[in-house]
């Protein structure tokens, strides 16, 4: 009987793991080595879609370094990628030569895994002054080792549907739309009410209350932790204000009651059932993918009510890699201003290297899918006002439970915001194990 248990459990777990981990880990686990031609094989382990391959950056690097071959693996969701990265780091095996880390996890990685990572601040060609100072600091340990180099940041705008705005009697010009809510998320809420009163049938103002929550929270310096590393989200007025405004979207019936990054959210893009969505720079590509050709000439980008940052990533180089020096050189090159500018132009990931912001490839960039919106100008301005966030090791767990337990209950189950808040706090308390 025990055999049965084990076999059953193993089968279920193996299946689920393969599924959950995006069905590609096997290839990502091979240790870097050399190919038959004797060239150094560097592996890059990523999550989501970084676009290095698509933007041709690997090919460019391999043309510069004839003795290097780059192989990339990618896992769709960071929630699945990150536990695997941690497991590999602590067991010193199965790691790629270069690994990505999401901004929400960088505090935990810097605090707990720094001695397993290379100090990239000392790699030749890496210039500290090229990067946004706060981005640089987020991956730097107390004793001054910089274990991660910033790739992109997520300054926010609001993406909106021109056609739906027109039918609801709202302005459609991006500057006029930005002025509707400039300076205050509550004005965004008021605009939502105006939209609701004349909304085209079957559409809502915004996709989800959780999306609004993430967007507003990303605008405050202190979120879930204070500067001493104490968990303060419960008493932090900024978090409560973000919660109240986001919950008002749900209780006022302004949301399409969706959960972000799920199949029904994707379907809603394709079917065009909501008019606005909080739009960090990296979201542009996602919308273009999901809304598809049917959404062309319908979407546009306007400035967000207040500057805020959502997401962004880092590259780290594990010490257990076989080609640490080569890997560090590659990470430095991929995150250098010129390459970040290319990535923005080709993929919409906004540079964390401030030196890239003035380059024409960034400053003058326009996005054809979004009505030729001047995304360079919009996001550069948004990035300038982003506050320096205080990060903590369990940011992911707190943010995820506030969104996927608390705010989702308000939005989808119609629970009272106070009750949903309590439910989220109980889940977070259990998860943090304080």
């Amino acid at each position: 009987m025990r055999t049965l248990i084990r076999r059953f459990r193993r089968r279920a777990l193996a299946l689920a793991a393969v599924v959950a981990l995006g069905a590609v880990p096997a290839a990502g686990c091979g240790p870097g080595g050399e190919d038959p031609a004797g060239r150094t094989v560097l592996t890059v382990g990523l999550f989501g879609s970084f676009g290095y391959q698509e933007a041709g950056l690997y090919d460019a690097y391999m043309r510069l370094h004839k003795d290097v071959v780059i192989r990339q693996t990618s896992i769709q969701r960071n929630e699945n990628y990150y536990p695997q990265l941690l497991t590999h780091l602590v067991s010193d095996s199965g790691l790629a030569d270069v690994q990505a880390v999401e901004a929400i996890n960088i505090a935990e990685v810097t605090a707990t895994q720094a001695d397993r990572l290379e100090d990239l601040g000392r790699v030749p060609g890496v210039r500290r002054e090229d990067f946004l100072p706060w981005k640089w600091r987020q991956a730097t340990t107390r004793d001054g080792r910089t274990v991660g180099l910033g790739t992109d940041i997520g300054p926010q705008a609001v993406c909106y549907r021109k056609d739906l705005f027109a039918r609801a009697g709202l302005p459609t010009d991006r500057d006029a739309v930005g002025r509707l809510w400039a300076g205050d998320w509550r004005k965004y809420l008021e605009t939502g009410k105006r939209y609701r009163d004349r909304a085209p049938a079957g559409t809502s103002f915004v996709d989800s209350a959780s999306g609004v929550l993430s967007a507003i929270t990303g605008g405050s310096a202190r979120r879930y932790y204070d500067e001493d590393g104490t968990v303060v989200y419960q008493s932090n007025p900024a978090v409560r204000e973000a919660w109240d405004i986001a919950a008002a979207f749900a209780t006022e019936g302004l949301t399409a009651r969706l959960q972000q990054f799920t199949p029904s959210w994707d379907q809603a893009y394709a079917n065009g059932t909501f008019a606005t969505v909080s739009c960090p720079a990296w979201m542009l590509g996602y919308i273009e993918d999901k809304a598809g050709p049917a959404g062309a000439d319908r979407w546009d980008v306007a400035a967000a009510p207040r500057p805020a940052n959502w997401g962004g990533s880092f590259l780290v180089v594990p010490k257990s890699g076989r080609h640490r020096a080569e890997a560090a050189r590659l990470a430095a090159w991929l995150t250098a201003p010129a390459q970040q500018a290319t990535l923005f132009r080709r993929r919409g990931s906004f540079p964390s290297a401030s030196a890239a912001h003035a380059l024409p490839a960034v400053a003058d960039a326009r996005h054809p899918y979004f009505g030729d919106a001047p995304i360079g100008r919009i996001y550069t301005r948004a990035a300038r006002g982003v506050p320096v966030a205080v990060l903590g090791p369990k940011d992911l767990v707190i943010a995820q439970n506030l969104a996927d337990v608390g705010m989702l209950q308000v939005d989808q189950k119609g629970r009272r915001p106070e009750d949903a808040w309590d439910a989220a706090v109980r889940t977070i308390d259990n998860a943090l194990d304080l």
Binding site: M1, R2, T3, L4, I5, R6, F8, R9, R10, A12, L13, L15, A16, V18, V19, A20, A23, Q76, R77, E79, P83, L86, T87, V90, S91, E108, T112, Q113, R257, Q259, F261, T262, P263, S264, Q267, A268, N271, T273, V397, Q400, N401, D404, V405, L408, Q409, Q412, K413, A423, R426, T427, N430, A431, L432, D433
Partner: protein, 329 residues
């Protein structure tokens, strides 16, 4: 690795050695070697399984038990801090654990009972004279051969709130759209549907095999005694199938206790919460959340062992009831 072990350790029991000139000492040695081979050969042949089982079955089981007595995080799995039975004690007033246990039981009942009843019915149909019976047997087994991921993703779309097929059909029938994912019972029903879909055919084939082993004479005798079809089913088929039914119940119970993939993926790849209110979070899912989302390996290990203990307790309870019934009979 398995084949290596077989060839090396299996050598003593290998086919007879080449013919050699007969001599008394030599044949004595051969006899000894033969006896040795007869005695240990079988063990050598089954050794690979046990070696693998020890490495991938027993060791993880024991190590999980050891870890469950510690505070240990995924960020540093080698830093173990002894906490005794604290991880188990806190399960007693862990609302999420009890919620997950309740969900596991209700989803287990919702999926296992209809599944086995339907399997019995399908087996009965397949057992009768049927054109293209092989075809139908293969069809019955197809869902079992489908990946749980593919199946669940399809079911997520079917049970979608806004654009799902199930709600579309309900709409045609005049019923309002159902938010399958957010209701406690609707979500558990939906998850159970996936389980039923996957495992009914598999159980049906097991029942079919058992049905085919029942001698026709029993039915003939029953028919001569004037038993109706229903009486034949009750008094011949069911008693003959009893051991098989017991087997499928045990296997399904174990499967239901460890249900993981279906509820994880039913959440639309949005994590291991089992819905915003944990309404379909099973024990397996809660274990995963504690271990790989919250990174508490010690607490996750305690949940894993609690699941094993629950199964053993259930088994012991069944054994007690059966012993008691045998004595009172």
């Amino acid at each position: 690795m398995a084949s290596d072990t077989t060839t090396t350790t299996g050598a003593p029991a290998a086919p007879p050695p080449p013919p050699a000139p007969a001599g008394a000492p030599r044949s004595a040695w051969r006899g000894r070697r033969h006896r040795w081979g007869v005695r240990w050969g079988p063990y050598a042949h089954i050794a690979p399984f046990f070696v693998l089982f020890a490495a991938f079955g027993i060791f993880p089981l024991l190590y999980t038990g050891w870890a469950s007595l510690h505070r240990v995080e995924l960020t540093a799995p080698t830093d173990m801090e002894w906490v005794g039975l604290r991880n188990y004690a806190r399960l007693l007033d862990d609302e999420f654990f009890w919620n997950a246990l309740r969900n596991t039981v209700t989803i287990g009942l919702l999926s296992t009972v209809p599944q086995l009843l339907m399997a019995l019915g399908i087996a009965h149909l397949l057992h009768g004279r049927l054109r293209g019976s092989t075809f139908f047997r293969v069809v019955a087994l197809t869902p079992y051969a489908t990946s749980v991921a593919a199946a669940t993703l399809v079911f997520v779309l079917l049970f979608g709130r806004d654009f799902g097929l199930v709600n579309w059909v309900l709409g045609l029938l005049g019923a309002g759209p159902v938010d399958w994912q957010n209701g406690r019972w609707t979500s558990q029903f939906a998850v159970s549907t996936i389980v039923i879909w996957r495992w009914t055919g598999y159980n049906a084939l097991i029942y079919l095999a058992a049905l085919q082993a029942i001698p026709d004479e029993l039915y003939e005798a029953a028919a001569l005694d004037g038993a109706s079809r229903w009486q034949q089913f009750r008094h011949v088929t069911v008693p003959s199938l009893r051991p098989t039914i017991l087997f499928t119940c045990v296997v399904s119970t174990i499967g239901a206790t460890q249900l993981f993939g279906e509820p994880l993926l039913f959440n639309g790849s949005a994590g291991a919460t089992g819905g915003s209110d944990h309404q379909f979070q099973t024990l397996g899912l809660y274990l995963y959340e504690q271990g790989w989302v919250n990174l508490h390996l010690g607490r996750a290990s305690a949940i894993a062992w609690a699941m094993l203990l629950i199964l053993l307790l259930a088994g012991a309870a069944v054994a007690l009831v059966r012993a008691w019934r045998r004595r009172t009979r």
